[in-house]
Amino acid sequence: MDTKDKQGFFGNWGGAYIPEVLHQTFQELNAEFTKCKNDPAFWQEYVELMSTYSCRPTPLTHADNLSRHFGGAQIYIKREDLNHTGAHKANNVMGQGLLVKRMGKKRVIAETGAGQHVMATATMAAKFGLACTIYMGEEDVRRQRPNVFWMEKMGATVVPVTTGSRTLKDAINEAFRDWVTNVDETHYVFGTVCGPHPFPEMVAWFQSIIGLEAAEQIIKYHGKMPARIFACVGGGSNAMGIFKRFIPETDVELVGVEAGGHGIATGLHAARLSGTDASPGVAQGYKTMFLQDEDGQMKETHSVAAGLDYVGVSPILSDLWEKGRVRFEAATDTEVMAALDLTMKKEGIIPALESSHAFVQAFKEAPQLTPDDAIIINMSGRGDKDIFTIAHAFNDPSWKDFIIKRGLEYSQEK
């Protein structure tokens, strides 16, 4: 994977398709990133930060009840939900925060689908004393209101994006526009292993801490490498984070789970590498498999999980897919709600809707394996932030009554 014939490419994928105005910034970013990569003290500082500000290493939890329930493999859950701010996104963001400090920039911008990435960014900005502007599709501002509230409280400016489909990809475009305008002072904290080089490599590097920990932990608890590892795939950062360390371990099967939405057949999904709806393209600064029409116009995607609702996918994953190192599957919204429900009841653990996609596929495959095998599910984040989405998706009547009553109270105030 790291044998790139061409700078910033992973096999046929990646690159840096950027406007000229950003050329210089990317030169500096590449230079700084290369320095950091080759400086063991930097990684040390990063690990130190993550173990004092967040709680790395995050636990690897043995899911006794689920394992017994499916009667197959031992199911282990990597608990990225226990990170500060509630998701793996913090790993990448805090890492880039250290980078920003080194580059002496004073402002960060970020964009989001699910809100966890920007929550982490607003948090990092507060901690490092940086100005912070967040671009969020108007659609997602609605879906993620609580996050918006907290980000504003932490001092960030949240800009609802009203262009395009008002979701992640449009927020990314808006963020790029801000960047080309304020390039000197501003760093764009890219949220996933996509975008122009060096972002995919950089984000994968910061996130790889997940797999480094998981490898040690599974050996300690299970005595050997896992049979399979499952991770949900939006842009691909939590997946790359846990996969990276295991790529050389050819006996470990790596499975990425995409958003099947209403079902691949319906076209309302975000399945790029599973299914056959995606085709090679170049957008948002990089080359990968995109969900686009025959003219190259990007399609609208759908998922109950805002964080998986994205047209592109990591060029690194496209490469691993092409090379057959990572298998891709899709989980439908319905399957996701069922897996979430079961996990809450059996283990007292509440995965984010995104993460629940990984649980779906793990539950399908666990029975095929033996109790002597271990599988790891990367629980990329916690679901309690998704209360509005989840309570809504479960169609919970008392929740709805509660919201109705509160709403009335508030309207009467006016």
Binding site: Q7, G15, A16, Y17, I18, P19, E20, V21, L22, H23, Q24, T25, T163, G164, K169, N173, F176, R177, V180, T181, N182, V183, D184, S279, P280, G281, V282, A283, Q284, G285, F290, Q292, E294, D295, G296, Q297, M298
Partner: protein
Amino acid sequence: MQLEQQLRDRLEKKEILLMTHIVLGYPSFDVNREVIRQMVENGVDCIEMQIPFSEPMADGPGIVRAKQEANRNGTKVADCLAFAAEMTASHEIPILFMTYYNIIFKYGEKAFFEKARECGIKGFIVPDLPPEEGESFLQLAAEYEIAPILIFAPTSTDERMRVLSSHAKGFIYCVARRGVTGTKSVIGQDVHDYLGRCRKATSLPLAVGFGIQDRDDVSALIGKADMAVIGSQTIRLVDEKGAGAVGPFIAGLR
């Protein structure tokens, strides 16, 4: 005749050239047709026709909204090519394509160049394709004699400008400031210095756009650049006053 030469010939007779910008399919090809007619009749020297792309990373809100509309109107790449053929046939000023790389990539680079030459297109402006990622693109450009117009930015170092110049043909598109298209700005000393650097770095003609709105903006460029680019202003004009307003506006710029 090559794009650069066409522009040089026109520069014989004019202190400064005008290039205008069209978003294909917005509000409709009929309006595009009328607007172009008025532009040409009022002395525009070059037109860049933008093929809309759903992810316009480097465009300003004005153009972005126009493109959304265009896409929503179901504007197809095939329609844009057909329309281009019609325009190049009916007007003899050089006409260019501006678009994002995915439109070309998805169509097939070779096929797209082939088709574009057929349509009489003289140059391509592709803001998200730096030469580093455009090897095959540049080869094909040479092969099909379509000018690869590259962009200078204020953030480009002198050395970088020389590299870009070595790959570019036709003219250099100088972005006057950081940021996206369509926001008005005055040209102060910094822009002068910047254009000076551009001039030093290339022998190609320089086109400059920075939200030009009137005669003063244009004349301010005389002597410093070879071509003034009117971008989102005409789009705004058509939105507000209709196609008819374009002619007088252009006429009033020089």
